[in-house]
Symmetry: C2
């Protein structure tokens, strides 16, 4: 198992810079007052392809050796990695095949196709996804770019907090949602080397709390097919992300579905930005654990904005 | 009739600066490709109180003479001016009464009350609003701050394009929605003096096209109670805004309800920002008149973001 280094992150940042946005950091006087903290929202919902995942995907695609270009890349993903890899492959002009749960939001499927990716559908479970994907790799011979358990991807995701510490001084903590752990691992890689005093928190839905249970147990626990509105956070930790989570994360905080939806609506209403349910889990966790964050300067990663505008969660809720 | 001057706008800018945001200008590679133009979106949806109207309201409130502070201010408004005046009055610590149609979005009513304003409801017609308002002024003795037909307000709205020309070089045109004409008049005031080569376009719903018909006829034509999804644009021109519109606007372009809703959804989906139906009318007009804007650098005023998140127009549409 190759563990990416801070040099890999720095190399990744130079490599991906032409293909990504340096996303803005927004603040909200209202949310600062509500939480008692100073919150700095790193808006990866404004990122190319609508999510932070384009950072890792671009690092893998643009680092690909020439002899692999014809066969291209392939992956499985609950959504944003799929369209980020399609975007990056499209920019480099190489083929991209993605295995996607048939239940993934239509907006994400449309976007993958729009960027030139090819979708193969699977059932919405980890086991089905892995079986279907094995067939795809056998047929295409493509380079597998795992959505998070891949050193190239983690090094790429680390560029997000690399930007953040250049945009905001004196952060006490950074909080990001955790699914498979790619964003959190990249954050750990960057901050543990460049800003080791900043505490790293992960936020997770109670209904997909495998990372929180793993963190307590001291080893990886995986759920098959959890159900949560935060559709980007259903996947389990793997050995590489577990390495970073178990070594560098201060705590993993969990929140209910109601809390996630309320935090999401609050951000839309007050900050006037479109972001995904997964991206609301950190604010939900801060609102639930105010004493942990009160008086602190906290970076909050808004991971993506690819939501299906026809079915917003508060509309079919309660 | 006192017509505000460029010095009034410059004075307003100094006066309101502590109470407003210098809002960002966003671009979208996708929308540039779709329209063939270079679009620069001035994001007043991120403005204090969620709309550009806080510029004019703050200019009126913070310019109010001391002997009027106890009686405070009052207005009638279809929404954003109401909550902007409440916000500004709250910042100065003076009373604010607003007459508002009972059909105004609940989100806007809640926000007015949240900022400390007092609401008196009227029927959703110009005639009812004016009758109810006359009673309010008689009772309170408050200073009337008209939502747009007021030199203080127009000078304040002019600060928006004053910022814009400092943020984007070489604009060929600016387009903004037109209701009563406050934003357009402020834009005319600023650009006709400071950047007279920039053409000014107004965009209006077909179903509330009184400004377009006035523009063609050469005199003010007013509708009573037009029906459109762009709820900020239902009010008619008045003599002061007519002065600016008739002297400085190049054209007024109208769009259908479907075109407005499609443009709104397109902006939410591609730019990941929350904005009002009224704010989508300019993009709808650009998409409908591509030849007019192709190859041009166009400033597009996103006027506000105070939308009711529980009833988005594309959900009960078609």
């Amino acid at each position: 198992m190759y563990i990416p280094t801070i040099d890999d992150m720095l190399t990744a940042h130079v490599r991906v810079k032409p293909y990504i946005h340096r996303t803005p950091v927004l603040t909200s006087a209202f949310l600062n007052e509500l939480t008692g903290a100073k919150l700095f929202f790193k808006c990866e919902n404004f990122q190319k392809a609508g999510a932070f995942k384009v950072r890792g995907a671009s690092n893998a695609v643009f680092g690909l050796p020439d002899d692999m270009l014809e066969k291209g890349v392939a992956t499985h993903s609950s959504g944003n990695h799929a369209l980020s890899l399609s975007y990056a492959a499209g920019r480099r002009g190489i083929p991209c095949t993605v295995v996607m749960p048939r239940t993934a939001p239509q907006a994400k499927k449309d976007a993958v196709i729009g960027y030139g990716g090819k979708i193969i559908e699977c059932e919405p479970s980890t086991s089905s996804r892995e079986a279907v994907f094995a067939d795809v790799i056998k047929e295409t011979g493509a380079e597998f770019v795992h959505p998070y358990n891949d050193p190239r991807v983690i090094a790429g995701q680390g560029t997000c907090s690399h930007e953040l510490i250049g945009q905001v001084d004196g952060l006490d903590a950074v909080i990001a949602p955790i699914g498979g752990g790619g964003m959190i691992s990249g954050t750990c890689l960057t901050l543990s080397n460049l800003a080791p005093n900043i505490k790293i928190y992960a936020a997770e839905p109670e209904q997909a709390d495998d990372a929180a249970r793993s963190f307590k147990a001291g080893h990886i626990i995986a759920d098959d097919a959890p159900v949560t509105v935060a559709d980007g956070l259903k996947v389990p930790l793997k050995e590489l992300t577990w390495h970073f989570v178990s070594n560098h994360v201060t705590d993993i905080l969990t929140t209910s579905e109601d809390e996630i939806i309320e935090a999401m609506k609050l951000i839309w209403k007050r900050m006037k930005i479109v972001m995904e349910p997964s991206s609301a889990v950190p604010l939900a966790a801060i609102l639930k654990n105010k004493e942990t964050f009160a008086g602190k300067r906290v970076g909050v990663i808004i991971t993506g904005g690819n939501v299906d505008l026809d079915t917003l969660p508060w509309m079919n809720h309660k």
